[in-house]
């Protein structure tokens, strides 16, 4: 995994006054499943289109397999792109779709036939070569789009939210298909998505993007437990986020006054006394006990919902006007204390699992907009 397949170096791309990609650099090791995760408008698709050759960078360099490809058109690059809407050729059969790229390489008919057969087997579509692509199911169409690219043996396979159009159950299934396929063929994948569950399930490395910049590149679990920025902490998972003011500092931790509650949190960045910060605690990590206790945070259950995987509980902690809304998720397999709306409970979490970042109001807006579906 030490060889580098794709290298992006200080790349910037503007559309008019809008900076879509802002001085981005990263490397993708050979054979990696690399995801670029970000909200819509974060520049992730533009970045992918520059790697595939549909857009050219304004400045900076893009290397593929060690060579600069900045202004090379897509038909001359050893990358292939799986489009969001798949973009299968609707007038052709499955085999002809797959053969389109091979024909451009002036291979003999036999060679083309052999390669098509082989890749059809690889994606589990054996025997469907003569079928028209419009006659296929959603999952099959997906696999034709993959086969059409894989048959050309690209250095890097690029995927632009390819599961976006599928429905929920099929998407769950295709995640595993994709991950297994990548493990089998060993091609480097760069996968763009706004769906964190896709990125986290499939990738070796995830780059979180926001407003044209990369905020953090980490393996999936680290994004969860060691977010490096406010945005990552806020964007990944359905995190608790409480705003407060720093009262005092210790070595790695700070004391923060949230409403009239005082909390201790790890410092995620340089913080001074008096700063406005947000504290993040994962809802999954909070334990909930019935009744009040002296050590924990006491509160009242406001909402109690079961969604098939988790019990989602909303607790109002503290008293008076400055009550704190705490989201708690208890997985379905665990024993649930006998509580109802209005029950008194006490909450606690392990030391070091609360983390503080300086408040960033504008990011809040990005995420709110996402929730409102403005882009949908």
């Amino acid at each position: 995994m030490s060889e580098i397949d794709v290298k992006v170096e200080n790349v910037t791309k503007k559309f008019g006054n809008f900076t879509a990609v802002n001085n981005v650099s990263f490397e993708v090791p050979k054979g990696a499943f690399f995801s670029i995760l970000g909200p819509s408008g974060s520049g992730k698709t533009t970045l992918l289109r520059m790697i595939s050759g549909f857009e050219y960078p304004d400045s900076g360099n893009i290397y593929i397999g060690g060579e600069i490809v900045n202004n090379l058109p897509p038909n001359k690059r050893r990358t292939n792109l799986v489009f969001q809407n798949l973009a299968l050729f609707p007038t052709m059969s499955v085999a002809k779709n797959i053969a389109f790229g091979l024909k451009r390489q002036h291979l003999s008919k036999q060679e083309i036939k052999k390669k098509v057969e082989h890749v059809l087997e690889l994606v589990d579509l054996k025997g469907l070569g003569d079928r028209n692509v419009n006659k296929l199911s959603g999952g099959q169409r997906q696999r034709v789009a993959l086969a059409r690219c894989l048959v050309l043996e690209p250095t890097v396979l690029l995927l632009d939210e390819p599961l976006g159009a599928l429905d929920l159950k099929l998407r769950e299934n295709m995640k595993l298909v994709l991950k297994r396929l990548q493990a089998r063929v060993g091609t480097t994948f760069i996968y763009v998505t706004h769906d964190q569950s896709e990125a986290l399930t499939m990738s070796n490395l995830v780059a979180v993007m926001n407003k044209g910049k990369i905020e953090q590149i980490s393996p999936p679990l680290e994004l969860f437990y060691n977010p490096k920025t406010y945005f990552v902490a806020r964007f990944i998972g359905d995190n608790n986020c409480w705003d407060g003011k720093v009262i005092s500092l210790q070595k790695d931790t700070c004391n923060v006054k949230v409403g009239n509650i005082s909390l201790t949190a790890k410092m995620g960045e340089n913080i001074s006394v008096g700063d406005e910060v947000s504290i993040f605690v994962r809802p999954e990590i909070i334990s909930l006990k019935k009744g009040r206790s002296e050590k924990g945070l006491n509160g009242t259950v406001k909402e109690f919902v079961f969604d098939g995987a988790y019990f989602r509980i909303v607790v109002m902690a503290g008293t008076g006007e400055n009550q704190l809304e705490v989201k708690v998720k208890i997985p379905q397999g665990e024993k649930i204390p006998d509580i109802n709306n209005g029950s008194e409970v006490s909450l606690s979490w392990p030391d070091g699992s609360a983390i503080a970042f300086k408040k960033a109001g504008e990011i809040e807006k990005v995420i709110e907009k996402e929730l409102e579906g403005v882009t949908a």
């Binding site: 050759g53 292939n80 973009a87 050729f89 007038t91 790229g101």
Partner: protein
């Protein structure tokens, strides 16, 4: 599960019924009468095949018939070759503003009565017209030349009047093609010509068929542009029909010619659809 039916049925039937009768009356009866008349002799009221026999024995009629068909096919082909890049440009390259202007340029001939168009062309192509003048300026010709009243003038006129009917079906077909399909062809290693012949043209097949049928029909059935630009001896079959009806008052002979033209156009369209491998139902959509 068209449950709209129930909602709209009562209201619509009350509106549609008289019109349905009227349409049936309008569409069917006049053409049955045309057919009946074509089998009746001009003088006298008896059944005869003479009106059709006249066509097969007279070389002028036969030649005009074939000439109209061949020319219309050529016009259709020229119109297609011009319209496809235009439609491609309008749907896939032009921004919204340029799109509007281009569509306007295509629709303009429609805005202006065919009659006025034909006259404008006559002004342009006549011996003392603009074309003759310009070519003399450029030193290509050295005295006034008449560009009117020949086959090329007819063709130019026909292509011009019917282009709209080719561009619109092509634009509507191509605008349903997602841009990413072209990008995919490019990404997989294709160049412009690969993409055009293997991806874009197969995709636009329904539009090409619809457009070609319309242009062919309009050309074959054209009277005004053909007679004005081609002159009195343009040798177009519609002219023969007009002559029978209006100049010779031989409605029976004219009716027979009308039926023959109908057969010709239906036949060629049918062959065209068969060749393009499409279903008539698809073309109607």
């Amino acid at each position: 599960m068209k449950s709209n039916k129930r909602i709209l049925r009562i209201g619509l039937i009350s509106l549609l019924l008289p019109f349905a009768v009227w349409i049936g009356f309008l569409v069917v009866i006049p053409h049955i009468e045309l057919l009946r008349l074509s089998f009746i002799s001009h003088r006298g009221n008896n059944f005869t095949l003479a009106n059709y026999a006249n066509f097969f024995t007279n070389a002028l009629y036969r030649n005009t018939y074939i000439r109209s068909a061949v020319f219309s096919i050529i016009v259709t082909f020229i119109t297609l070759v011009i319209s496809l890049p235009m439609a491609l440009f309008i749907t896939k390259i032009a921004g919204p503003k340029a799109q509007g202007i281009l569509m306007l340029a295509v629709i303009l001939p429609f805005w202006i009565s065919e009659l006025i168009q034909a006259f404008a062309w006559m002004i342009m192509l006549r011996e003392t017209g603009v074309l003759s003048y310009l070519l003399q300026l450029l030193g290509i010709i050295h005295h006034n030349v008449e560009f009117l009243y020949n086959d090329a003038a007819i063709m130019v006129g026909l292509v011009y009047t019917s282009m709209l009917f080719m561009v619109i079906p092509l634009v509507s077909t191509l605008s349903t093609m997602e841009d990413s399909i072209i990008e995919a062809a490019y990404d997989l290693g294709g160049n412009f010509w690969n993409t055009l012949f293997e991806v874009i043209i197969p995709y636009s097949a329904p539009g090409i068929t619809t457009g070609s049928i319309m242009v062919f029909m309009l050309s074959l059935g054209n009277y005004i542009s053909v007679t004005l630009l081609g002159g009195k001896n343009s040798l177009w079959f519609t002219e023969q029909i007009y002559n029978q009806f209006i100049l010779r008052f031989n409605w029976n002979q004219g009716a027979a010619f009308g039926i023959l033209l109908l057969i010709l156009s239906s036949l060629i369209v049918w062959i065209g659809i068969k060749i393009s491998g499409q279903e008539i139902e698809e073309v109607l959509r």
